[in-house]
């Protein structure tokens, strides 16, 4: 079988190499290569999707021996958890490449960083070898650091450094956990670790705590989320989209793949504590978002809220013995990752488009824009209602399943459902302040979305509606895997 996963993972590096080879030939060539490469990668991931996954276990395995003495190998593969995330990743990178076609500040370097980041991200989700996973996981940090530090906004240096130190320090415990699992099993093959628990008792609990620390930083969960708003506000638009849409999912993906699957017994013991953090994060993120007047920061905090629901879903799955309820919770948590990628991606793009035009993100600087820029306005309204969980749009089926499982497993935790009212309030306030009311004359000449911007935003909006109306197209694949966990 042709190694499509390897192709998708390393195609961006080929693109990056050719950009470097053609350095100095101007930005349009670099952006052309970037759009072509990411588009091709997207097609390859669609082909991977067409091949499908098998219920229970991994499929489309690609394996090459690497360091046989320690059981490390180049191993890639997908299941119903990683494949949706791979599709989301390739889509968001493709749209980001289109969006950044207008970046004229060191375009070649920018494109190379973005393509490297794509390889790292796809590799993180596809890796079935823990050492390989860790390498991809760390490499992604480097690209994102330079992206924020080089192309960010006013206070970018500090934010980039904070992001880097936070997540780098955060990922060290994971390395310890991986080493622990290796010592327990003598291999780095993640399939072995998933199939049967390799650690037990105190060792398993320590490994779990180490993993939880790393993933909590990445997700991010209260109280280690403070890097997120800082990084988002300063990051360039594409940086925010990739950070929120793809890189936060490293955390929740790791939460299921590592914490939930590799140390199941310890996870069940700790699940109540994890659930508390999830519930608190969801509520805290919503209230923190309500306090913001900077649009980008507001959207950033809603990520804390939405990712809190994912944590809740995984935690309650660890608390129940009923396989049906557990599948509902994990289905919801996994779908929520995809929905959040689509919706928050769209929102960050739209805020970026607004900022490109107005050079401000403070919602009180606007007013009455809906009549002036209807495409931008309606796209924002649709994305905002998706984010607040309106049925028929992407978040509803995911959150519904998470809450349904939560209420029937730990009734008190459904308290987090209050957050859907808070998010409704904050988005309605933002819509009213920016788009409704009397038009502000300051923006009388603001142009509506151009064709490039429509190419970026319309696919996302279409998918937000598609996932909301027919979640089955992803849930079928997700459910087949989750029901077997």
């Amino acid at each position: 079988m042709f190694p499509l996963l390897t192709l998708a993972t390393f195609l961006p590096l080929v693109g990056a190499a050719s950009v470097m080879g053609l350095a100095g030939r101007g930005g349009s060539r670099a952006h052309g290569i970037s759009i072509a490469t990411t588009g091709l990668v997207f097609l390859v991931t669609l082909a991977i999707w067409a091949r499908g996954t098998a219920p229970g276990g991994f499929s489309q395995i690609e394996e090459i021996t690497w360091i046989p003495s320690i059981g490390a190998a180049y191993r890639l593969g997908v299941d119903g958890l990683s494949l949706p995330l791979i599709l989301l990743t390739s889509l968001l990178f493709f749209l980001s490449a289109i969006y950044s076609a207008r970046v004229d500040d060191r375009p070649a370097t920018y494109v190379v960083l973005m393509l490297m980041l794509e390889t790292a991200s796809l590799g993180t989700f596809a890796a079935l070898d823990a050492l390989l996973f860790y390498v991809f996981f760390e490499v992604s940090l480097v690209s994102m650091y330079f992206m924020i530090a080089g192309w960010g906004h006013e206070d970018r240096q500090r934010a980039a450094l904070m992001f880097f130190l936070y997540t780098l320090l955060g990922s060290l415990p994971l390395l310890l956990a991986i080493l622990g699992l290796f010592l327990g099993s003598g291999t780095f093959d993640m399939r072995v670790w998933v199939d049967a628990p390799q650690l037990s008792g105190l060792a398993a609990m320590l490994a779990l705590i180490a993993m939880l620390f790393t993933f909590a930083v990445k997700i991010p969960s209260f109280p280690v989320h403070t890097w997120l708003p800082a990084a988002h506000v300063q990051a360039p638009t594409v940086g925010s989209v990739i950070l929120a849409g793809v890189m936060l999912k490293f955390g929740t993906y790791g939460l299921i793949r590592f914490a939930f699957q590799m140390t199941p017994a310890a996870f069940s013991q700790a699940a109540l504590v994890i659930l508390v953090f999830g519930v608190f994060s969801a509520l805290y993120g919503a209230f923190a978002a309500l306090a913001q007047s900077d649009l980008k920061k507001m959207v950033a905090y809603t990520s804390v809220n939405h990712m809190g629901y994912v944590v809740m879903g995984v935690a309650v799955a660890g608390l129940t013995v009923d396989p049906q309820l557990r599948a509902v919770a994990l289905d919801g948590a996994t779908l929520q990752m995809i929905s959040h990628g689509l919706v928050t991606g769209a929102l960050f793009f739209l805020v970026g488009m607004l900022q490109d035009r107005a050079h401000t993100r403070a919602m009180d600087d606007f007013g009455g824009l809906l009549g002036r820029v209807p495409w931008l306005g309606w796209a924002f309204i649709l994305s905002a209602f998706a984010s607040l969980g309106l049925p028929g749009l992407a978040h509803f089926p995911a959150e519904f399943q998470v809450f349904l499982a939560t209420l029937n497993i730990q009734p008190w935790a459904v308290l987090a459902v209050l957050a859907i009212v808070i998010t409704a309030g904050l988005y309605l306030r933002a819509i009213a302040a920016v788009f409704l009311g009397a038009p502000n004359d300051k923006w009388a000449a603001m142009p509506d979305l151009d064709r490039r911007e429509l190419w970026v935003i319309l696919p996302l909006l279409a998918l937000i509606v598609a996932v909301g109306v027919a979640p089955g197209m992803l849930l079928g694949m997700i459910h087949a895997t989750m029901a077997a966990l």
Binding site: F287, L407, V417, L428, I431, L436
Partner: protein, 604 residues
């Protein structure tokens, strides 16, 4: 199946077509609602023949989306389709000059689709989805003139109020799905025990939000910022009806305690919002308060154990209230205002419209043989027969008296006052309203057929008829002859203030929420600064180690290198390049080596 999809999809497809084509919006809208009406009529005929149409669509794993057209749901679907069709006919005239007509019709049709999905829902997920979507389309329609002052606030408030209450429906759905093991509504309604009580309370809260019951009544009056056809369709006959519909459908599950609470909420709302209507200075807001009050009477009937009486009043009220709103819209067009003082005499300028308005007003007050007479009698009879008759009957009767009073007051304002001018003809508006006044008048004759269809008989009795008639007549006479301030007396300022307690929602919910948000933000700043300080501490740790490196380790290394260099420089002096000196040195060296070698035996 095909009838179900026709009912649901015809308006939706028309809405999409309007958005894409952006022309002929009125014609497309008419086609959409008429096709939808045919579908709903087909469903009703099918249900009358005893068919039970069902459809299952793919939804969540093991929880498909279901649609059911049984007697009750088909009847409600027909009601929605009828009112929607007539309101669209009216809106063709009302929106004739509005440049954003396509957006209006598309949103209105989207709403109709969502409402049909709500009444036909066979599972909790469909119901919940449709429930939230009608709230969303209501937000869009209230905010239709989004550039005007106060509109954004009214729209946001409506969505937020109803969404807060929707949490009740979310919780109830989670509980009922969990305890029944399936998402089907019919299975969920067999739940009993504590689960039924909690779910029942959740459903009640959701219904209070949508049906604008005390203390969540305030959004409905502000919603009058939207176009009048919206008020007629959404805020009298459909969206607001969703709350009552939910309780009517789930009545079989409700434990006695919850039923009592429902009746109490309904009765209190009927009285309080009735007083607010009496104090109102704006015709549309008067009608909105009256809507809350009438839905209060319906909840009272559900709580009294007679959901059929609530359903009959719901049907009668839908026709009556939408025709009242449509009439108000005609007057609004004539005078560019809905303020009662501006509308003085507006009725005389249009005797035809005024006659229709008056007929509907009398029907709402409960004058025989108009529709409201029968349904209101059923409600009073239900309260007489209920266990809590002692406090239910007075609430129902006061509600009825107030209905008569505020309707008489509206009629008096429209009829008396300055001499009328000529009004231009409004054929579409007159047609839409005229066709709604007919059922408002004669629907009572159809009630036996409906009771037969649903196989339920409402309570009756001469006592109820006599009490109802006396209350209606008393209300009408008092409202016509006595000015509202004198009728209300000391209650007037309260009624005008909307009976807000402790600052209303603003004081009880909004301010605490914002305070928590501010607290979070303060904490967030601390946390951020803390993280930054930790980062700084680590950086300065790095700096210290760098200095140690530079002065210590680096220093040592550099010193070593320096000394090596110096040694080398000294050594270089020996390499002078002068042959004779090199030779001499070589000889000296050889001599030294030889001496060492020769001396070897001495020290070995």
């Amino acid at each position: 199946m095909s009838l179900l999809s026709l009912t649901l999809l015809a308006p939706l497809v028309a809405a999409a077509a309007i958005l894409v084509l952006r022309r002929a919006s009125a014609a497309l809208a008419l086609a959409g609602v008429l096709l939808g009406f045919l579908g709903a009529a087909g469903l009703l005929f099918g249900a009358a023949r005893g068919d039970l149409l069902q459809a299952a669509l793919p939804g969540l794993p093991q929880m498909p989306l279901r649609l059911t057209a049984g007697p009750l749901t088909a009847l409600l679907s027909a009601l929605v389709a009828t009112v929607a069709a007539l309101v669209v006919v009216y809106a063709v005239g009302y929106m004739r000059k509005d440049p954003e007509k396509p957006r209006f019709f598309a949103t209105l049709l989207f709403f109709v689709s969502a409402m049909q999905a709500l009444v036909l829902a066979g599972d909790w997920i469909t119901l919940l989805a449709a429930w939230e979507l009608i709230g969303f389309s209501s937000y869009l329609l209230i905010g239709f003139w989004h550039g005007r002052e106060g509109v954004a606030g009214a729209a946001s408030r409506a969505f937020l109020y109803t969404r807060s209450a929707d949490l009740g429906l979310y919780i109830a759905a989670f509980i009922l799905i969990g305890s029944a093991g399936t998402s089907e509504i019919s299975a969920g309604l067999t739940t009993g025990g504590v689960a039924a009580t909690i779910a029942g309370l959740g459903l009640l809260i959701a219904a209070m939000g949508k049906s604008a019951q005390v203390p969540l009544q305030d959004w409905l009056q502000r919603a009058m910022a939207g176009p009048t056809p919206v008020s007629a369709l959404l805020h009298s006959a459909t969206l607001v009806a969703a709350g009552a519909i939910l309780l009517i459908r789930s009545a079989p599950m409700m434990p006695a305690g919850v039923l009592t609470l429902i009746a109490l909420v309904g009765g209190v709302t009927a009285v309080i919002t009735g007083l607010m209507a009496l104090a109102e200075r704006d015709l549309k807001r008067l009608l909105a308060a009256s809507t809350s009050s009438q839905y209060g009477l319906m909840l009272l009937a559900v709580g009294a154990g007679a959901p059929i009486a609530a359903l009959l009043h719901l049907l009668a009220h839908a026709a009556i209230k939408s025709s009242l709103f449509l009439g108000a819209g005609v007057f609004q067009h004539d005078r560019d205002s809905t303020n009662l003082s501006d509308l003085a005499g507006a009725g005389r300028a249009r005797p035809g419209i005024f006659a229709g308005f008056a007929l509907s007003a009398l029907a709402l007050a409960g004058i025989p043989p108009l529709a409201g007479f029968f349904s209101k009698d059923a409600i009073i009879a239900a309260s007489l027969a209920a266990p809590g008759a002692l406090w239910l009957v007075p609430l129902a009767l006061i509600g009825t008296v107030l209905t008569g009073a505020y309707m008489a007051r509206a009629l008096r304002h429209l009829w008396r006052g300055k001499p009328p001018g000529r009004a231009e003809r409004a054929p579409w508006m007159a047609a839409g309203m005229g066709l709604l006044v007919v059922p408002a008048a004669v629907l009572g004759a159809g009630f036996p057929a409906i009771e037969g269809l649903l196989n339920a008989a409402p309570p009756g009795g001469e006592m109820a008829v006599a009490l109802g008639l006396a209350a209606a007549a008393l209300g009408l006479l008092a409202g016509w002859f006595i000015p509202a301030p004198r009728l209300l007396g000391g209650l007037l300022p309260w009624a005008q203030g909307g009976f807000a307690v402790a600052g209303g929602m603003r004081g009880l919910v909004l301010r605490p929420a914002l305070a928590i948000a501010a607290l979070t933000e303060t904490f967030e700043q601390r946390l951020y600064n803390g993280a930054l300080a930790t980062g700084r501490a680590m950086l300065s740790l790095g700096r210290i180690s760098r200095e140690t490196d530079e002065t210590g380790i680096d220093g040592a290394i550099f010193a070593l290198a320096r000394r090596t260099r110096e040694t080398g420089a000294r050594a270089r002096r020996l390499q002078s390049g002068l042959i004779h000196r090199e030779l001499a040195l070589t000889v000296l060296g050889i001599a030294l080596v030889t001496a060492v070698l020769l001396a070897a035996p001495l020290y070995s």
